[in-house]
């Protein structure tokens, strides 16, 4: 397909801006030598270009998207409609507090909902994504121990099954990462945990259910051990969809958490973002939270900073329009509907797993939560068909592949998360596709390794891309 620059014709363009109604006056400073080579294109051509690109993209609205650990649920239209109101989109972030009472109400109400759901006391909405929420939480832990004068605690304990963001966030916050092992049941090895707890432990970062889709049944024992050692417990809310309305991190020993509003609380993923990663905490950590919040109404309205704030993560109040969507979503589901989200998410995952486990090897033979992991090492060894091949074969069935090669502790992993918004018919369809691929693996593995056949482009040379990076269009070619 043509790049937009290849559709450009000199002198073509659109009339967007008015002519200047005052004297044209430019600052007397050095100016750019030449104009940026942006496309020169009519609106019609522009629209056709992006329509063509859209046809070569796939969203949840196109079909089943069981991408493990990503919670690709359907996002209701009403959220979009609500977030697109001028009363939200046209508000300057530095408007006086008494002119943004609607924004304040959104943030305060959302905080109430999410604190009730998580068992936390306070929440900051400044982090723009889950990873930034993690970073916020870890900085808060760091500031807390600094404030207590305990400078010795510089280690964060993280299980080997964790998302890469966990160790990366801990390192960014200046902590040493101490990895602990998972046992044969996919849970934390308690002996390994005990051996690594010390007066250097600042905290434990945990995703529960974890990335293999298993709820750690020793969770209260784990958080008790960490607290006894003097550390804090951090809950990564990446997988909250499995237990929302059923388990509250604050009730099982967690002191600080982050949530992914764009996953659990429904915002379309936008091809990689934007997200929103609020960080919630218990009362004793409140003074360290970042950012400023509008408080009060009318003449009393003003902005406040936390007393010992770690500072700020983004320039203003975080990704506000994502908060609007999350609040709409929560109000529609309500206290009664929220646990049903988890019920159906877990049911859908177990349904697929049960219907496939006779032929696809599961990494852990037990009930899963909202997602499960297959370990296809056997196919790889015996039939020379890798997890990647199975994933690519699914493309030919119009199904977005599961997450591949994660978590790292399972060889040839495929991680499947159907979410609660899919119907039984969709799940049956996916099960049939998986089973048909299995038959091909047995009978004609070459067909599987040669997939996909129906996509507009075949397998791409990633080695070439990485060895000789071409990261922008070359106008001189």
């Amino acid at each position: 397909m043509k790049l937009i620059f290849e559709r450009s014709v000199p002198g073509r363009g659109q009339k967007i801006f008015p002519s200047c109604d005052v004297e044209v006056k430019l600052p007397d400073v050095p100016m750019r030598a030449s104009a940026p080579r942006l496309p020169e294109i009519s609106e019609n051509e522009l629209d056709r270009h992006y329509t063509a690109l859209a046809k070569e993209a796939r969203g949840v609205n196109d079909g089943f998207y069981p991408l493990g650990s990503c919670t690709m649920k359907y996002n209701p239209y009403v959220n979009e409609a609500i977030a697109n109101q001028k009363g939200f989109t046209d508000i300057h972030p530095l408007q006086p507090a008494d002119t943004v009472e609607g924004c304040t109400e959104v943030i305060d109400t959302l905080e109430k909902y999410l604190c009730e759901i998580t068992g936390m006391d306070h929440m900051t909405f400044q982090p723009a994504a889950g990873a930034q929420g993690e970073f916020t939480g870890l900085l808060t832990i760091k500031a807390y121990f600094r404030d207590k004068g305990d400078l010795n605690r510089n280690e964060i304990i993280i299980p080997d099954s964790a998302h890469g963001t966990n160790p990366a966030s801990a390192a960014m916050a200046g902590f040493k990462v101490v990895e602990i092992k998972s046992n044969e049941k996919g849970m934390i090895d308690l002996d390994d945990l005990k051996s690594k707890l010390s007066d250097k432990t600042a905290g434990l970062m945990l995703t529960n259910p974890n990335t293999v889709g298993i709820f750690d049944e020793n969770i209260t024992e784990i958080t008790r051990l960490v607290h006894e050692a003097g550390g804090l417990c951090y809950y990564d809310g990446a997988n909250l969809n499995a237990v929302i309305g059923i388990v509250r991190p604050g009730d099982i020993g967690f002191d600080i958490i982050h949530l992914n509003l764009h996953k659990t609380f429904s915002t379309p993923h936008g091809g990689g973002g934007p997200g929103s990663g609020p960080c919630g905490c218990k009362d004793f950590l409140r003074d360290f939270l970042p950012g400023e919040r509008a408080v009060g109404t009318g003449a009393d309205a003003h902005y406040e900073h936390a007393l010992k704030s770690i500072g700020s993560l983004t320039a203003f109040h975080g990704n506000f329009l994502i908060m609007v969507r999350a609040l709409s979503y929560l109000q529609i589901n309500g206290g009664d509907g929220i646990p049903e989200l988890a019920h159906n998410a877990v049911l859908n995952a177990n349904y697929i797993m049960e219907k496939l486990k006779d032929i696809y090897p599961m990494a852990y033979d037990r009930i899963c939560m909202h997602e499960f992991v297959m370990g296809l090492e056997k196919f790889h060894k015996e039939d020379n068909v890798s997890a990647l091949d199975v994933a690519k074969a699914l493309l030919d069935f119009g199904i977005h592949p599961p997450t591949m090669y994660f978590p790292l502790i399972v060889d040839e992993a495929l991680m499947v998360e159907p979410t609660e918004t899919e119907t039984r018919e969709t799940l049956d369809n996916a099960i049939a596709a998986f089973r048909q691929i299995y038959e091909e693996i047995v009978k004609a593995p070459a067909a599987v390794t040669a997939s996909p056949q129906t996509t507009p482009i075949k397998r791409l040379d990633e080695v070439l891309a990485a060895r000789h990076p071409v990261l922008r269009y070359n106008f001189e070619q």
């Binding site: 090669y405 990633e462 080695v463 990485a466 060895r467």
Partner: protein, 127 residues
């Protein structure tokens, strides 16, 4: 590929070739094979000190990154900068594509010889 007899090997899959007062370090055929197509290498700088069993650089394939562990201690006197543009040379000729040359080195005697290394690799694969 047969691992050359005249080289010494570490359990972290590096090889060492001693030439007089200097020693060359690279990664073994087994290492490049398990990493797959290499796309980039992070090299140390001249004068950097290597400490046995500590990483001194790393090497990237498309979907993975591995530390390169110092099999011996020593001081870097030269780095193979050709590898920055052509990391694939390690895939093609792992025992020619040296990564660093070190002087004042120590610890060669603790390394494995070719047959010991081959046995070690077999044992590791059986696990």
């Amino acid at each position: 590929m047969i691992d050359p007899k005249e080289l010494k090997y570490s359990k972290s899959h590096e090889w060492v070739r001693v030439e007089g007062d200097e020693a060359y370090i690279g990664i073994t055929d087994h290492a490049q094979e398990s990493l797959g197509d290499l796309v980039f290498i992070n090299l140390p700088e001249v004068d950097d000190e290597l400490t046995v069993d500590e990483p001194f650089g790393d090497i990237e394939s498309v979907k993975a990154v591995s530390d390169i562990i110092a099999p011996i201690s020593g001081v870097v006197v030269e780095v193979n900068e050709d590898l920055i543009d052509e990391p694939e040379k390690i895939n093609e000729e792992p025992y020619e594509a040296w990564i660093v040359k070190v002087a004042n080195f120590d610890g060669v005697d603790d390394l494995l010889d070719a047959s010991e290394y081959d046995t070690f690799v077999e044992e590791e694969e059986d696990e």
